[in-house]
């Protein structure tokens, strides 16, 4: 559907996008995830045609796009600030792109009605932009793009300006709309939760480069770099050194002792410095020294973050500067670690929960 080949963009001496290559399949919900300044919006604007590519190629359905101005690209976009035309009514906004297609007036009216139905705003047709709430403007912007039946819809932080509740509701609506219409969506967001919730695949960007492209669960469970691991969810990082003990490859972690390396540790050489990453869910906590697991370390419960259905527990371990973060579920009506701050605890983990990364 859309291919980016070694795409670069510089503004003067500033390199904003650096050698990005991506393949996005038809019907996919694809997200570009990154902090502000990571180049994700610039990349989206290059796909839309508002910025020229400095070098590299963008192809849509195999057609190179560099000589195609924005108005001739088979793409529509939902802008960050919605860009609803203030001098037109909601109906005229939605019908805006139909003039060029020469759609008859009656047909236009029918299509606009169908769109108002789709975005659940029937009866709002005669309002103007300033009479709409943020969420309503967002839907109008969506309808205005979708009425043209694009093959590819670009969304630039479309939910950024909405409050949390509305944002979650719109996420669900967006996802089901995309499934229903089968259009390829490319979303730009800095919100990792949003990217994980909505997307089939996510490209994580930093400093103008794509550092990992994966499914949401792939990103979460198998981050390739420290940056990705830190950006998506919460992660504990431990510096460690690899060595061989008999037939097993193991890592020494200060304060936590010895960890057996699973698959991700293979291919590392003895004496190599690595970064051991452990999700809070991969760790367990108990009040007494556990019998079963091979790994258990004594510590002290330092602080507690109660988050409703789950909580994060910060455990201080001798020999480590920063506390280790452990996630614990909570059954209804129970608050198992309430008032336990300062008491001694035992940390446990399963060996397959460990991810080995390069140290930087």
């Amino acid at each position: 559907m859309i291919s980016l080949r070694n795409v670069c963009k510089s503004f003067g001496r500033m390199q904003v996008v650096n050698d990005v290559s991506l393949e996005i399949a038809a019907g996919e919900f694809f997200s570009l995830l990154g902090a502000s300044g990571s180049g994700k919006t610039t990349l989206l604007r290059m796909i839309a045609g508002f910025e020229a590519v400095t070098s590299g190629q963008i192809l849509i359905d195999g057609q190179p796009m560099q000589d195609t101005p924005p108005h001739l690209r088979p793409i529509n976009m939902v802008f960050q600030n919605y860009a609803i035309f203030p001098h037109l009514t909601v109906r005229d906004n939605i019908a805006y792109g139909l003039r060029r297609l020469g759609t008859p007036k009656a047909e236009q009216a029918r299509m606009v009605d169908a769109m108002l139905e789709l975005i659940a705003l029937p009866g709002y047709g005669d309002r103007r932009a300033h009479q709409l709430s943020g969420g309503q403007m967002q839907r109008v912007a969506l309808a205005r793009a979708l009425i043209l039946k694009p093959k590819l819809l670009l969304l630039d932080e479309p939910l950024g300006a909405l409050d949390k509740q509305l944002r979650e509701q719109m996420q669900i609506e967006l996802r089901s709309l995309q499934r229903q219409l089968g259009i390829t969506f490319v979303l730009v967001t800095h919100d990792q939760e949003e990217a994980l919730t909505l997307s089939d695949r996510v490209a994580v960007m930093a400093n103008g480069q794509v550092i990992q492209v994966d499914t949401p669960s792939g990103l979460y469970d198998r981050p390739k770099t420290r940056q990705v691991a830190a950006f998506v969810g919460t992660m504990n990082f431990f510096d460690a050194t690899v060595r061989t003990d008999g037939s097993a490859r193991i890592a020494d972690v200060a304060g936590l002792g010895v960890m057996t390396l699973n698959g991700s540790g293979q291919g590392r050489t003895d004496g190599e410095r690595v970064l051991v990453a452990l999700r809070p869910e991969g760790l367990g906590l108990s009040r007494t020294k556990p019998e079963g697991p091979a790994y258990a370390v004594a510590g002290q419960l330092q602080a507690r973050q109660y988050l409703g259905g789950r909580q994060l527990l910060h455990v201080q371990v001798a020999g480590r500067a920063a506390p280790v973060t452990v996630a614990a579920g909570a059954a209804r009506g129970e608050d198992p670690w309430s008032g336990d701050e300062g008491s001694p605890v035992w940390l446990t983990w399963a060996p397959d929960a460990v991810t080995i990364l390069d140290p930087t």
């Binding site: 960050q80 860009a83 203030p86 003039r99 043209l148």
Partner: protein
């Protein structure tokens, strides 16, 4: 005990000064309508009674009406053409970074500070050199030189404040740059364009120096007034005429300033 009433307390000396300033500026102008209703021929106190005769007299003067229509024609052409020229200029200044932009803008704005006398003489010399015959067309040309900087300074804040994302949205929805201009840029900036038309119309209509140097046999209204000043018995009629021009000019400039600000609030204040 003295109460502190804050930073925004009224400043009495400043208010007095402002009042005196306004009186000095506008009192002489107020004499024009005052004496236009005076029955006596001479401008002196005491007033000799109320009359509308001088206004009625205006409708008897055929040359005056000719001059009036000349001025209207020139002003219409000048306001339209200088606005049409100023819109793309203001858009370009507002949007593009280009080498020498500041110099170019200063150059365009220069006629604002050049004495009309000098501009008039200069244009006359050039037009004579080129062998162009003086007419209302040459007057209009001169007026355009004067009106362009005004037009640009009215339009520029509009285009600087105008969000480009609306034009990008239009392009994204498939409209070419030209249609985007017609369907989005122009209608969204219509208040500014109307303000510009009114402002330039007023300036051209009232302008004297350019008309003095560049008009041929057909006088504009200010030229006509100038030529009639020699005849004392016509003076009250000129006062009546001036009053009408004054009212119309004030109304148009006021409307233009009002229009120029429509929808210019920062985006954050709108929502």
């Amino acid at each position: 005990m003295a109460r502190y009433i804050g930073f925004h307390r009224p400043n009495r000396p400043l208010a007095l000064y402002a009042g005196a300033f306004a009186v000095f500026l506008y009192l002489p102008i107020l004499f024009i309508p005052l004496f236009s209703f005076n029955a006596g021929v001479y401008v002196k106190f005491p007033l000799e009674g109320f009359t509308l005769a001088w206004y009625a007299d205006l409708f008897q003067r055929e040359p005056l009406q000719r001059a009036f229509w000349n001025s209207v024609q020139v002003a219409a052409v000048v306001s339209l053409s200088s606005t049409v020229l100023a819109v793309p200029a203001a858009m370009a200044i507002a949007r593009y970074r280009m080498p020498g932009k500041r110099a170019a803008v200063s150059f365009i704005m220069l006629p604002l500070v050049l004495p009309g006398l000098i501009l008039g003489v200069a244009l006359l010399t050039v037009l004579n050199g080129l062998g162009v015959r003086l007419s209302l067309v040459t007057v209009a040309l001169g007026h355009m030189v004067i009106c362009l900087p005004y037009a640009i300074s009215v339009l520029l804040p509009r285009f600087i404040g105008f969000s480009r994302s609306l034009e990008e949205a239009s392009a994204d929805l498939g409209e070419s740059p030209w249609w985007t201009f017609l369907r989005v840029t122009l209608p969204c900036n219509m208040p500014g364009v109307l303000a510009c038309l009114l402002m330039t119309f007023t300036i051209s209509f009232d302008e004297f120096f350019m008309a003095f140097f560049l008009s041929g046999t057909e006088p504009t209204l200010p030229m006509y007034i100038w030529s009639q000043l020699r005849f004392p018995q016509d003076f009250p009629s000129l006062l009546a005429l001036s009053t009408l021009i004054l009212v119309a000019s004030f109304a148009m400039v006021f409307a233009s300033l009002k229009l120029g600000r429509v929808g210019l609030a920062p985006a954050g204040e709108r929502r």
